[in-house]
Structure formats: C-alpha cells, structure tokens
C-alpha cells in the first residue's frame, strides 16, 4: 500500500540511519541508495541542510517538516520526518515522507514574475495615463466612477476627496446632462462603448467641449464589468467646425438667394452643388441634374463643344467661359454666360460656376447689330450715290464748259459787262468741276480705310508726293525741307499717307503769304512714348482755329475765300487720320504760319 502512495516514503533505521523501506516515488529522490546503506553515504538528491538535521531529530524525537526544499536541479519537495518507535517505545528509526511540489513551486514562481511584470506594466500605464494630455476614467457596470486620472482633477479643480460618482454629472453642462447620462447608461446596459461630446465645467467655471469615448473591458463569457474611457478637449475643433458650418450655411443661403444659376464642382469637374435658383430655372432636382446634368440643358448642337471645353478646363485648371442657350423648365432656351473658376487652397482645388442670364443683352445686341448693318448699308449706298453722281455730273459739266468755250469764241458781246459775266460763268464752271473731283476723291478715300498697311520708307514716299506737286512748288518758288532722320519708317497705308501729306502740302502752298516765298518743313519724329508723328509747318497766312464761323475740319468749310479751293482737303485729312486711330493737332498764328501735327497712332503701335 505504501508503494502506491502518491508520495515518496522511506524509513531510516537505527542510529546510523540506514535505509530500510524505499518506495518507488522515494527512489526518484534518493537515487542509488539501497536498504542497509547509510543515508549520509548515499543521500541522492536530499539537500545537505536536511541531512544535518536528521541525527538531531533521531535524538530528540521531534517531528520536522521542510516546505518546498529544492532537491536536485529540477525538483522541489515538501519533506517531513518523524521518528517511529519499537515495541518498547524506543526510537527505532525515522519515517521520511516526500511530496513532489515542483509544479506548485514553479507556478508560484511564475505568479511572482507575473506580478512583477504586472507591476511594471501598471506603473507604465499609470505614467502614461497621468501624463497624456487627455483624462482617463473607469466606470463600473452600476455607473459608479472608480477612477479618474489626475488630469481630471486638475481640469475640474475638484479636490481628490470628491465623490466622483456624485459630482461628475453636476459638472456637465445642464443642456447636455440628460443626454450624456442617458447615452452612457445605454452603453453600459447594452455592453457596448460610447462616443459623444459634451460641455464639461472647467476649474474656472467655463464650459469646454469634451469628447468622451469608452469601451467595455470584456472577459467572455462574463458580461463587461468595467468601462475604460478617455476625455479629450475638442473645444477649438468644435468651435472651428461650428464656424465652418455656419460659414458654409451662410454661403449656401447667399447662393440660394441669388437669382442666378450658381454651382460648385469637385476637382474632377463633377458638380456637387446647385443653388435653389438652378432648381427653379431648370425645374429639375439635384439628383436629376447629377454631376454633369448642366450639359444636357444646352442647345443640342452646342453640347459636345461645351463638354469638350469643360474637360479641357478641368484638365488645365483654366477658367471656363462661354455663351450658351440654357433650357428653362418650360422648354424656352435663354442665352446665358457660363463662367467657372477654380479655387485652389489647402483642401484641394474646387470649381465655382455661375450662369448669368444675358438674353436681354443678347437681344439688344442683335437689334443693334441689325440697325448697324442697315446704317452701314445706307451709308455705303450714299457714298456710292455721291461718287456716282459726282462722276456722272462731270461729263455734262465738261460738255457745258466745251459748249461755253464754243459760245464765247463764236458769239460776240457789245456790252463790256457781259464780258465780265462770261468770265464769272467760266470761273463758276471750273469751280463746279473741281468740286466734283474732290467729292469723288472724298468718297474714294472713305473706301480706302481698309487699305493694306505696310512699313513705309518716309523719305521715299515724301519725295514721291513732292514730285507730284512739283509744278506748284516751282510756280511759287517754294522751299521744302524734309527731315525724316528721327523716324525714317512708318507702318501705315501708302494711299492714306499720300492723301494726308498731299493735302497738307498743297494747302500750305495754296495759302502761302504773298510777301515771302513759302517754306514748308516736313518732320517725322517719335514722341517720348514712342508714337510716330509727322509735323507739317509753313510760313503762310495762318488761320483762325477757334472761329465757329470758319471751322477748319468740316466738309466744304473754307478758311480763305479769296483762294481757290473746295473746302474738302482738311476734312479728308482729318477723316483719314482718325479712321486709323490717330489724331490731328494744329497751331496757327495769323500772318505767320500754321503747323499741323499728325499723330499717326498706327494700328501696330497701339497694340
């Protein structure tokens, strides 16, 4: 029976303590030891401290138990020794009991190490929770607050002795209190966590927005008993997002109040907002319009081009602008200017677009265009008429002159006054002829406004013109001084330049002062801002510039009635120069001379 005991049993007999009975379990402990041998000679794994005690126990007959003795490298035993007696009651030996407690001991050791680790972890957790900028707390299933981190005390200004469970609901803003209590209770009841925001009173009495999140500590299958959570101050974020929400709402309100189609689109060019007016105008909902619905509202033939243009704008980021007809809810198309621009900021690019109704302007423009076309046609007809009339009238005038010459040669008049009248008729006929020529020239010049523009060599062109005036120059003994060194070239129409210079020089010759030979200076130069100018200065009669009775630049207005002329010249010059975007300035002193300054303001230099 002793052999099958789950403990080691051995007897040590006699004062020499020789092995007697050894069961199998004890064999593991004492190893080689055989009955009859002394325990001190073959101690096996028995610890030496224990061996030293054995003789003493034998002597005084006491009992002894040694707990968790390390026997050998791998085992631990609870060893107990008690003496046994022979029939005479004398101590005959010792009974040795060994219970293997290696596993219990190892477990104890592990528990100890675990406790150490736990203590480390706990310390670390504590440091972390107490230094992190958020407050942590623990609530049990009944809703009692069992822990809050020191930050909570610092934030709320509550003493460490405060009754947490009682006090915390009082620190929550009255408007949030019921909601918070309800939500946390609901979380505890269902065994889930929670996540909500509320205002918590700070030590200075100011309520600050906090985010409270908690999760249950779960050990299945038991229901959770603790909820651990954190409180983060989200006041600034909350205020910012509040401001943003308000700003957004105000913008939306503004956009919805504008009687124009307003929309915004994502970076990809997909419309994500249409204002209220868009819905009213189109009669469609946001869903019906969709991210690109606007294109379907355009005139069928214009849709593809508009879509391509939009894709191009989205790809390049360039603004989109165009005039399109947009279908109204009643099927009427109205002209709109569609504009969209890209806004790029830290939240990425976005598109903002408007469609402005320009139907009225469009109609007005069309009416104006029609009227302009009619006027232009009428003007052209008038020109043609004048040209044709002046041209056609020249033939009868010539005939008249011929007939008159014939009459004068063949007829004879007795009355000398009649001879004077003949002369007057002759003069009148000549004047009629030259007026007709000038008229024809005027009309032709007006047609030449679209003359080709080229770079002209001033000295060559001026020389050509002066060559054409050679007879008059010779006749009057005039001196012409040409100075083109400062601006030798000019971009202008050749025919127009010829007309201008020809008219001004022949005027200067015509209105020369009777007391002195004419001196005409032609000077081409550049103004300080680089504009080409031609100055024509003479030493002739001069003229009244501001005299309303004798306007200088009007058709048929004549300054000097004693000099031959039709009054067409300066009008023509003025017309040509201003039609090319330039202007003509004149200064004059009666009896001393006149200076014309032509600011060409050529098309190329104005651009």
């Amino acid at each position: 029976m002793l052999r099958q005991l789950p403990a080691g049993v051995a007897t040590l007999e006699g004062p020499d303590l020789r092995y007697g009975f050894i069961n199998d379990r004890m064999r593991e402990l004492v190893g080689e030891g055989q009955p009859g041998q002394r325990v001190t000679d073959f101690p096996g794994n028995l610890p030496s401290v224990f061996l030293e005690m054995l003789p003493r126990i034998y002597t005084d007959g006491s009992e002894h138990t040694a707990k968790a003795c390390a026997c050998g490298p791998h085992h631990c035993y609870d060893l107990s020794v008690q003496p046994y007696h022979d029939e005479q009651g004398q101590i005959a030996g010792l009974l040795l009991l060994a219970v293997d407690v290696s596993e219990q001991e190892a477990a104890r050791q592990r528990a100890h190490e675990l406790a150490l680790t736990t203590r480390h972890l706990d310390a670390r957790l504590r440091v972390l929770t107490e230094t992190a900028p958020l407050m942590t707390y623990t609530v049990d299933a009944a809703g009692a607050v069992t822990y809050v981190s020191p930050q909570w005390y610092r934030f709320t200004g509550q003493p460490p002795t405060a009754d947490l469970t009682a006090i915390w609901p009082l620190l929550v803003h009255p408007d949030d209190r019921l909601r918070v209590l309800y939500e946390s209770a609901a979380g505890r009841r269902t065994g889930t966590g929670w996540n909500f925001e509320y205002r918590l009173r700070r030590y200075d009495g100011v309520y600050r927005w906090m985010l409270s999140r908690a999760l249950p500590e779960v050990h299945p299958p038991e229901a959770p008993f603790f909820w651990h959570g954190a409180l983060t101050e989200v006041h600034l974020e909350r205020e910012l997002s509040e401001a943003r929400r308000r700003g957004e709402a105000e913008l939306r309100f503004l956009a919805d109040s504008i009687p124009e189609l307003v929309w915004t689109a994502s970076a990809e060019g997909l419309v994500d907002y249409y204002n209220q007016f868009t819905m009213e105008y189109t009669g469609l909902t946001k869903e019906e319009l969709g991210p690109t619905g606007w294109v379907g509202l355009l005139y069928l033939q214009e849709q593809a081009a508009a879509a391509r243009r939009w894709v191009q704008s989205v790809a390049s980021g360039e603004p989109f602008e165009g005039e399109y007809r947009l279908r109204r809810h009643d099927g009427v198309y109205r002209w709109h200017t569609i504009r969209a621009r890209q806004l790029s900021d830290e939240s990425g690019p976005r598109w903002f677009g408007t469609c402005s109704d320009v139907e009225e302007q469009y109609r007005l423009r069309q009416v104006l265009q029609t009227q302009y076309d009619e006027l232009s046609r009428a003007h052209h007809n008038l020109d043609t008429f004048v040209y044709a009339a002046s041209h056609d009238l020249r033939q009868p005038t010539n005939n008249l002159r011929g007939l008159f010459e014939e009459l004068r040669r063949s007829a004879s008049f007795a009355d000398p006054e009649q001879a004077v009248m003949l002369g007057m008729v002759d003069t009148a006929l000549a004047e009629l002829d030259s007026t007709l020529i000038d008229l024809a020239t005027t009309v032709r010049t007006q047609r030449q406004q679209q003359e080709p523009v080229e770079v002209l060599d001033m000295s060559l062109v001026l020389e050509e013109i002066l060559l054409g005036l050679r007879p008059e120059i010779m006749q009057r003994g005039a001196r012409i001084d040409v100075q083109v060194g400062e601006a030798p070239g000019l971009r202008y129409s050749r025919a127009n330049l010829r007309s201008v210079v020809h008219n001004l020089v022949s005027n200067a010759l015509k209105f020369s002062h009777p007391n002195r030979p004419p001196l005409i200076v032609l000077r081409s130069y550049l103004t300080p801002d680089g504009q080409p100018v031609l100055e024509v200065r003479d030493n002739g009669l001069g003229m009244h510039i501001d005299d309303p009775a004798h306007p200088i630049f009007q058709l048929f207005a004549r300054q000097h009635t004693h000099v031959d002329g039709t009054g067409v010249g300066l009008y023509l010059v003025q017309r040509i120069v201003s039609s090319q975007g330039g202007h003509l300035a004149v200064t004059s002193v009666i009896g001393e001379g006149t200076t014309f300054t032509i600011h060409w303001h050529t098309p190329s230099s104005s651009s």
Binding site: E268, G290, Q303, V311
Partner: protein, 152 residues
Amino acid sequence: MKHIVYLSRAVHALTDHDLQHLLDQSRHDNEQQGITGVLFYSHGNIAQLFEGEDEIADALFARIAQDGRHSHVRKLVDKPIAARSFSNWSMAFHPLVTEGFEALQGFLLPHHMPPAPDSLPIADALVVELVRLAVFGPDPSQPYHHALPLAP
C-alpha cells in the same frame, strides 16, 4: 436596365498580376451576369461604368461598396437607361510590362480607348470623360502620378 458610375481608391496599389486576375475574374463574372461597361485603373484610382439589369447592377454595386480592397467609393451616376452603350466589359490601365497584356481580351491601353459611344447621353459621356481624366490625367499615354483628393 440601369447604369452606375463610381470613383474609388484602391487600398493597396495593384500589381500587374492583381490587375490581370481582376480582369479575368470580372470578365468571367460580368459575362455570366450580363454586365457590360468599362473600368479605369491608374495608381490606385479606380473608376467604373457598368450597365445591366437593375437588381444585378444594384447587387454588384453593393458588393463593390463592401469590398475591402478599395475605399472612398463615390457613386456619381445611377439611372435607368433604355439600351446598353457598351457591347462587353473591358478594363483600361497601364501595366508595368505591356507585352503580355496587349493580347488579352478586354484589356485596353488608356490612350487606345475608343471615345464614349454616341448612344450614351452627353451628360453621362461627360461623366465618363471626367472620371477618365481624373484617373489617367490630361495625357493618358503617360502614367499619371496623382492621387484624387478624397471625397469631402
């Protein structure tokens, strides 16, 4: 019959192998389910237009929206159509190694894609053009290094 257009972001960049696998699998599934359309992929950006019977298309989109392999799924268009505009289902992307792919059925190089079919309403064709631009960038022959801004 309806069609659905969406944009999304792949959670992990797809390799040539992933793409080919996706192409094979989707073609097989879509052919069985009568789904036609086109999918664009580039650098994690995904856009797809697909058309099919209402329930099948809705179920497919529900699966796509749940699929953990991509995120930020944004449905752009979901509306009934009278007839299909695509005769089959295909995929367009830039493989790292082009060779093997050119011969694959249903595969398109982004710059060899045919323009949106005329049967597609212009507003929807514009959506397709815009998502193609968003996925491949202004020049589809060049791999496009650009991430879509996340949906607001």
